[in-house]
């Protein structure tokens, strides 16, 4: 069932063919979003085809190249040992190929980021949808739980948890579950707010009056109408998850070595900065680019899906700096 035209809150215009076409046209007009999308696509492809890409010059992120290091364990040569064999140089103390580490590290960052986001969105949508629709004591309990979790010192808890959980439990799975668990409350809060206003709408009231069950209303009436919000939210959640994973690895409680990880590489490289700055620049640059790309794309996607901003898009681009647009939205709609 496609959404009625009077549902305006970030409603699912993507549900119809013309809406989808519109979305791409709008995205194409936004150079930031387009650049973000390209960056993200490059990283995703690099992660998927990591073994093929690193095979071009016969490298992988696990083999030691001690001959590429000097007697103190620092890389020989310029920029941390950059050469035609090692495009980004090599890692100090091991001589492992830094380009391979960055490319393979993207696999971990992207997969953990996306999976943790899926966990967060799944829980968040389920709780937000039901809390907003059913209301009552269930809503009050769910909202308090959300409040508590939002104020919870998640990072400290996760560090403690990784120390306690058995070493036999696969660490990436643990990280995905824990990060997802601590990130769903913000999703739930946004979805609940949307549902609260949507359930007053005539199409929902009409559905109920015609005898539709709760399941039907939640699944066929409400969920499609919060779909756009969820997609936008997820796109913006992914980079924060990637940053979260990198922070855990930086602190030494992420995925154990030798699995390549940007966060761990950044953490180790800090000590090497004075002798080998290249070691910090490449993994740090990769983390910076992917989070920037995802954020830019997420921003563009939100603008494209939000009819209130998109209607005046052409004008807004000229009159307002990007950062001001978000804040200006409410006023322009009421105008």
């Amino acid at each position: 069932m496609s959404a009625p035209t009077d549902a305006v809150d970030l409603s699912a215009r993507g549900g119809t063919a013309s809406g989808r076409l519109d979305l791409f046209t709008q995205l194409r007009r936004d150079p930031w979003a387009l650049a973000g999308l390209i960056v993200v696509a490059v990283f995703v492809l690099a992660a998927i085809f990591a073994p093929l890409i690193t095979a071009i010059n016969g490298q992988n992120p696990y083999d030691y190249n001690l001959h590429a290091l000097d007697s103190s364990g620092a890389p020989k040569g310029w920029g941390g040992g950059i050469s035609w064999r090692h495009w980004f140089g090599v890692e100090p103390l091991t001589g492992r190929d830094l380009f391979s580490i960055v490319v393979y590290g993207g696999r971990l960052s992207l997969s953990v980021g996306v999976l943790a986001t899926l966990v967060a969105v799944a829980i968040g949508v389920l709780v937000g949808l039901t809390a907003g629709y059913f209301g009552g004591w269930y809503d009050r309990v769910a909202s308090r739980v959300v409040d508590v979790l939002l104020g919870f010192p998640a990072l400290i808890f996760i560090i403690a948890l990784t120390a306690v959980v058995s070493a036999n439990f696969p660490r990436p799975v643990l990280i995905v579950l824990v990060m997802g668990f601590f990130s769903w409350p913000s999703v739930a809060r946004v979805v609940r707010g949307q549902v609260l206003s949507l359930k007053q709408r005539t199409f929902v009231v009409a559905s109920e009056a015609m005898g539709a069950g709760d399941g039907h209303v939640l699944w066929r009436q409400l969920l499609p109408n919060v779909g756009a919000t969820i997609i936008v939210y997820a796109t913006i959640l992914v980079p924060s998850m990637i940053g979260f994973e990198a922070a855990l690895s930086f602190l030494g409680v992420g995925v154990p070595p030798p699995t390549p990880s940007w966060g761990r590489a950044i953490g180790t490289s800090v000590q090497w900065f004075s002798t080998d700055p290249g070691y910090l620049v490449f993994p740090g640059g990769a983390l910076f680019l992917i989070t920037l790309g995802l954020n830019a794309f997420g921003d563009g996607l939100r603008d494209a899906l939000d009819p209130r901003t998109s209607r005046r898009r052409g004008i807004l681009h000229r009159i307002a700096p990007r950062s001001a647009r978000t804040h200006g939205r409410q006023r322009k709609v009421t105008a």
């Binding site: 696990y62 083999d63 030691y64 001690l66 290091l69 000097d70 007697s71 103190s72 364990g73 620092a74 100090p92 103390l93 091991t94 001589g95 120390a163 070493a167 930086f250 602190l251 030494g252 409680v253 154990p256 070595p257 030798p258 953490g267 180790t268 800090v270 000590q271 090497w272 004075s274 002798t275 080998d276």
Partner: protein
């Protein structure tokens, strides 16, 4: 000082970023004579109680407490045990089971009262108390009745320590023990006044006998020592006590410490770091000519080794353990540690610098191992290395993880899958010393507590040292070795004892309970104002007793 590691670098990298930019440069004393010596430590507190201390005789507590004997260390010479409070290093009788010491005249505590043999006896008795655990414990198993004694705080005293008069102290051991003069140089053999003896009172305001006394204690920040007016150079042949004041700055990030010392301005000119440098810091010092000239590097000393849990799975098989001796890539491990300036490859258990050490290699191979030989030993054992999955327990700081990965990639060459289990420092020592450990491999390091092969071998390979917080991490049990250790410990003739230990060394390595990796060279950095800063052949730490201030 058995637990030594490059501190908790990993957990602190975040802080390093912040701290490098904003270290305080406090008021400094421009007068070099006398002056203030600053010591930079990563520890959050400097523990002062000798009863619970594992300090070497030449480090921190040596500034505060005198013992019956102490160590005379000189650059390029073997460490010697020399009299400190006592007039000699001990008179032995009863075939090595009774040791008698006489105190020098004119010894005083920092409150002016005289030191008596009863104060030394009381100091030793304190180390048996449950309230004061964690100290070196060699004497606890040697003194008669030590196994059941629970300390002086419930009014009991230890009968095997006699004090016939105020200047004489006699020890009765339950077996002959030739290295006893070294044992009485340990912190527990410092005199403690009974009125100052409760752990709480001592912690707050210790009354000391060394050249310094405690002026102020700010746990987590600093510890300040000033001169003890009752200490007399005339009775002390070892300590020179050049500085008027010694300040320990605590909770210092290791990398920040190194940066401060490289810059060497303000208080950091008259300072040195107490932690040895990790690979990354070592690289940045060697790329700075001024700092490089202020670096003191030890000779190859403490052994770093891979412990193989001899009671688990395939590792029960001697052939498998011998195969691992060949499979490990010691070269990659050495590079991960910081290269030739951080150590030399190891093949024996007794470390260089210990009298009587014999160099040998039962498993000769290239520095990076012998993969073919390892594979053939595996096929002789009938074990498929590709089916072997081993857990390697390691500390989770960057330095240890780099070393652990070097082991991991070395064993991967013959198809063994090694999973790293990184532990923070405290859980690591709990886990390795647990009675029923759940790891296959563990990365360990060992600095002997006194320069005798006994201290290299018995704590690590005697079957009585398995579990319960002890350090036989390989769970190695060999009755023949146990008997040989007991015989060598009882030997009072040093030359004969040294030959015995060298034979035990080979006997143990034939069973391959550990893979010796490197003998570490430890490097320490000083500021430009610190003189006579050297690292003796034993121990691999600077001698705090004789450093001077002023160029």
């Amino acid at each position: 000082m058995r637990k030594f590691s490059t501190a908790t670098a990993a957990a602190l990298v975040a802080a390093a970023l912040v701290l490098t930019g904003c270290t305080s440069h406090g008021a400094t004393n421009s007068a070099k004579t006398g002056g203030t010596l600053t010591l930079l430590t990563s520890a959050s507190t400097v523990s002062l109680d000798p009863a619970s201390s594992q300090n070497l005789a030449t480090t921190t507590l040596g500034l505060l407490d005198r013992r019956l004997t102490t160590w005379d260390v000189q650059p390029g010479k073997d460490a010697k045990v020399v009299p400190d409070l006592a007039t000699d290093t001990g008179r032995v009788s009863d075939g090595g089971k009774t040791w008698t010491y006489t105190l020098k005249s004119g010894l005083k505590f920092s409150d002016g009262s005289p030191v008596t043999s009863a104060d030394i006896k009381y100091g030793i008795e304190r180390s048996f108390s449950d309230q004061l655990q964690g100290g070196l414990s060699y004497h606890k198993t040697l003194l008669v009745g030590g196994d059941t004694y629970t300390g002086p705080f419930n009014g009991q005293s230890l009968a095997s320590i006699e004090t016939p008069d105020a200047k004489t102290i006699v020890f009765h051991l339950d077996k002959p023990f030739g290295d006893w003069p070294w044992i009485v140089s340990m912190p527990a053999f410092s005199p403690v006044k009974e009125s100052n003896g409760s752990p709480a009172a001592y912690k707050k305001a210790p009354i000391t006998t060394g050249p310094y006394k405690v002026a102020s204690i700010n746990d987590g920040t600093s510890l300040t020592l000033v001169r003890n007016p009752y200490w007399s150079k005339a009775t002390d042949d070892v300590r020179t006590a050049s500085a008027d004041k010694v300040v320990f700055l605590e909770s210092q990030n290791p990398s920040t410490t190194v940066q401060n010392l490289i810059n060497g301005t303000g208080q950091y000119a008259d300072a040195f770091g107490l932690q040895y440098l990790g690979a990354a810091d070592l690289a940045s010092v060697t790329h700075n000519a001024s700092a490089k000239s202020r670096l003191a590097t030890s000779q190859a000393g403490p052994i770093q080794y891979l412990a193989l849990n001899t009671q688990r799975g395939a590792l029960k098989d001697l052939k498998v353990r011998q195969a691992l001796e060949y499979a490990v890539d010691k070269q990659a491990y050495l590079v991960a540690t910081g290269g030739p300036q951080a150590g030399t490859l190891a093949s024996t258990l007794i470390t260089p610098g210990i009298a009587g050490r014999q160099d040998y290699d039962l498993y000769p191979a290239d520095a990076s191992g012998d993969v073919a030989k390892a594979k053939s030993l595996f096929s002789q054992a009938g074990v498929d290395p590709t089916s072997l999955k081993l857990t390697l327990l390691t500390q989770n700081d960057d330095a240890s993880l780099a070393q652990a990965q070097a082991i991991q990639q070395g064993l991967k060459r013959i198809g063994i899958t090694v999973t790293l289990r990184p532990d923070d420092q405290n859980s690591f020592y709990t886990d390795v010393a647990a009675s029923n450990p759940t790891f296959d491999l563990a990365l360990m390091s060992w600095q002997p507590d006194f320069p005798s092969a006994n201290s290299n071998i018995s704590p690590l390979f005697d079957s009585s040292q398995i579990g319960n917080g002890n350090f036989n991490v390989s769970q190695y049990k060999n009755p023949a070795v146990d008997a040989a250790i007991a015989a060598a410990q009882a030997e009072v003739d040093p030359a004969k004892a040294q030959a015995d230990w060298a034979a035990i060394d080979k006997q143990i390595m034939a069973d391959a309970p550990v893979v010796p990796l490197i003998y570490a060279k430890q490097s320490f950095l000083r500021g430009s104002g610190v003189g006579n800063f050297f690292i003796p052949s034993f121990p691999a730490y600077p001698d705090y007793m004789t450093v001077t201030l002023g160029k």
